[in-house]
């Protein structure tokens, strides 16, 4: 059984070490904070000016001036802070953030990432994606392994406009967790019932065991 979007998020959450500061992008990454294991202290950063972002509690009323990068109402934990865009991107570019988790349209063998535009259509725009992908210490991608029509998204080279070059460290997909070292990729884990051949067939570059 391939992992669902929530299972991908849970898998990512369980791999984030205690004490890390993490920027999360839109899509599957927004699900990650709710799966951080109890007792682990992970601080979430949102590009629009929050450190210590947490999901809105059920009994909490939404504040229109406290939103995440996807414009959803969120909340802030004890120890958190608010700041303006220039300070927020200083954190991002300045290497102060341990990990970025983003969605992807395509990832190349070299670790290049495309996630803001197909050649036909700009999704929303570049937003903060280029800054996050080139600024954080590590970048993990959360994505479905192939497009809905079965087209490969993990390719020798990206065919869509690039967000950043040689930045992706890991891919968490519905089929597997993959890790990159230069141009070599290996499987960290396969989803239950998925075999290596299936992952290799769904991937446009070679994968080691």
């Amino acid at each position: 059984m391939a992992w669902s979007r929530d299972e991908i998020a849970r898998r990512i959450a369980s791999d984030i070490p205690d004490g890390w500061t993490v920027n999360i992008g839109v899509g599957i990454p927004t699900l990650v904070p709710r799966y951080i294991p109890q007792g682990r202290e992970v601080v979430f950063h949102s590009e629009n000016g929050i450190l210590g972002m947490v999901p809105l509690r059920e009994d909490e009323s939404p504040d229109p001036e406290v939103i995440d990068a996807g414009k959803n109402a969120v909340s802030i934990r004890f120890g958190g802070s608010f700041f303006d865009s220039s300070v927020s991107f200083a954190m991002i570019r300045g290497g102060h953030i341990d990990l970025g988790i983003v969605g992807a349209l395509q990832v190349s063998q070299n670790g290049d990432l495309s996630n803001w535009s197909t050649n036909e259509r700009m999704i929303g725009g570049i937003g903060g994606a280029a800054d996050v992908c080139s600024g954080v210490k590590q970048l993990w991608v959360a994505m479905m392994h192939t497009a809905e029509n079965g087209t490969r998204k993990l390719l020798t080279d990206c065919t869509f406009p690039l967000t950043a070059v040689s930045v992706v460290c890991r891919v968490y997909s519905d089929l597997a967790v993959l890790e990159r070292d230069e141009r070599k990729w290996k499987v960290v884990t396969l989803s239950p019932g998925t075999d290596l051949l299936e992952v290799r067939n769904a991937t446009g570059f070679p994968i080691d065991i």
Binding site: N48, G49, E65, S86, F89, G127, S134, P161, T163, A164
Partner: protein, 218 residues
């Protein structure tokens, strides 16, 4: 008796500072920190050829529809944008100039800080690096992004005083501070305008030196 500094102005008088062909920055990220009242008056002006500096285009829709906008400098123009808006932008020939969000905010900050531009590695090897001058510092290559000066900035705060000192809430700070810094004339709207001294000097998000006009909103 010295001259009393009082930056308070009416909504309409403040917006009358904007003229045809100007470059106008609009604060806000999503609805947070968006200067709704100021923009609602600007929308009714019959201006043309404006260059808008704004993270997103969706909230500029009425101005795009009425043909006021020539160019938008932004990072995430189509976030929450309808197909109608996409079509209008195309039909009206509105130029979209995309900048990575951190570059956009930092180029505004540079403009307001007396700097000629920003050296950044963001965009190297992508289309965001195309046509940029490359500068090498300490053995590393950077893109040279010129400072982004604007003529007028429209921004939002929670609380203001007559000196233009501002207090903002939560994620409503976003671009508002750097846009005010980058502007020749910055106009701040606030629902609450208080007496001098009521804003704690320890809790002032933007010192009034960066603010030229204060508009109290209903």
């Amino acid at each position: 008796m010295g001259v009393v500094t009082d930056k308070r102005e009416s909504l309409h008088k403040a917006i009358s500072a904007i003229d045809h062909g100007m470059t106008v920055a609009i604060g806000g990220f999503g609805g947070a920190g968006f200067p709704t009242s100021l923009v609602s008056v600007l929308e009714k002006r019959r201006l043309h050829g404006l260059t808008m500096v704004s993270n997103n285009a969706a909230r500029l829709e009425p101005m795009i529809e009425s043909g006021m906008v020539a160019r938008i400098i932004c990072s995430f123009p189509f976030g929450g944008a309808s197909d109608t808006l996409r079509k209008s932008i195309q039909n009206a020939g509105v130029e979209i100039r995309l900048l990575p969000q951190g570059t956009l905010s930092e180029c505004l900050r540079a403009a307001g800080s007396g700097l000629g531009g920003v050296l950044t590695r963001v965009g190297i090897g992508t289309e965001f690096g195309e046509g940029r001058e490359i500068v090498e510092v300490h053995g590393k290559k950077y893109l040279l992004e010129p400072a982004l000066n604007v003529e007028v900035a429209l921004i939002h705060a929670s609380v203001a005083d007559r000196w233009g000192n501002l207090v903002m809430r939560g994620t409503a700070r976003n671009f508002n501070c750097v846009m005010a810094m980058a502007a020749a004339i910055s106009v701040a709207e606030a629902a609450e305008v208080v007496e001098i001294g009521e804003i704690s000097p320890e809790r002032c998000d933007l010192p009034g030196i960066f603010v030229d006009k204060v508009v109290k909103t209903a």
